[in-house]
Amino acid sequence: MSRSAIGLGGSLGATLQRELQLAFSSPGRIVNPLMFFVIAVSLFPLGGRMSPDQLGTIAPGVIWVTALLAVMLSMESLFRSDFDDGSLEQLLLSPQPLYFHLQVKVLAHWLVTGLPLVVISPLLGLLLQLPAAGYAPLLLGLLLGTPALSMIAAIGTALTVGLARSGLLLAVLVLPLSIPVLVFGAGLVDTALNGLPLSGVVAVLGALLVLAGTLAPLAIGAALRISVH
């Protein structure tokens, strides 16, 4: 017989592969968050009249808030189609451990949406006249922060997937929970610009990531069980 057992690792690999296939089959999944990020950031200089100096001051905040919004909005679709077409029920009824599958799903999603945001962020720093010392901490902060934000946003997505109009509700649930990541993330840039040592803030961001990565899947699983009900 051609059937071969693949174990937990193989099964998680299949979930990862499926998510990546989904992302690459509709390139919008990857490109749209990026475009949103760039367009939304460039709205701010249009909305106010600011000197280059002032722009540089608000740059970390604007970039981080927009990244947060982009991550959150891109997460909106994480469970949507699975919910609509019944795949989510299959995942919940699978004998495989849900916890790890959810972790992998969020990770896959971050790889195709969050990571590109991180990569492109220096460009936006340039647009907003971010001082030179700010680029490295901006990148580092986003690299640690966006996966944590993805995990937090996934909780909100899981809680709202059964609801028709979820976009704004998702924001209302997720934004307050994301504030610590935002504060330390944007704070990292400020700290660097003020010439203070970074290690403490980096450690906190790392801790937040670990915390979100381990606890969020539990909340996501519980939320999904409620949603399919």
Partner: protein, 249 residues
Amino acid sequence: MWQWLYKLGSPRHFYEMTTGFVPWLTGVSLFLLIVGVVWGLGFAPPDYQMGDSYRILYIHVPTSMGGMGAFVLLAMMAAMHMIWNIKMADIVAKVCAPVGAGYTALGLITGSLWGKPTWGTYWIWEARLTSYLILLFLFLGVMALRAAYDSERSGSKAASVLAIVGVVNVPIIYYSVYWWNTLHQVPSELGRDGSANPPEIFIPALFTGFAVIGLFFLAVILRSRNEILYRERRAQWVQDLLEKELADV
């Protein structure tokens, strides 16, 4: 003690046990409130620094603390509902959210009103104020989520998950905002040295403080009783109660 707690967990017993308790709680709270307000507004001397504006503290401090306490209560009830599936816990969680949100909003409003004479502005982005604003957002999120579900049961479970996640986040938010604030230059820290206050100012504060907290529990209990009647409206004991009430009228 356990017996008593167990009984409280049943909506019917909760309803029956609180029936006698409500008038007492109402009376005591109102008494404390009237004494505290009359004493505080009418007889306590003006503060040597802040003049009369400090009097808003009589409401500000207890409502602020009540709002925070309410979220902890909400999360505890949510956890009990999730883990042991206790109906009564969900009822309390449901009614606790709007009351807590109201207290939080009152704390914010009274604080802002006090801020105007004290700092010259209604709002500053200061650690405690900011984390308190976020607490209001968390309350609103829990309420919005519950309302978004068509099914009562799914809504309550979803709101429970969010309340638990939220309470885990509260200390993190507090420290993050505090940290963020340390690089800020703040116009004025919230002074907390109540010991400097003379007893004429301090004692009425105790009265209003307990009154406001008593009113919190009163609101929660009254709303819970309504909710119990609504949810159990088809149960025999509620029907009996209704008949008795109607007969009395």
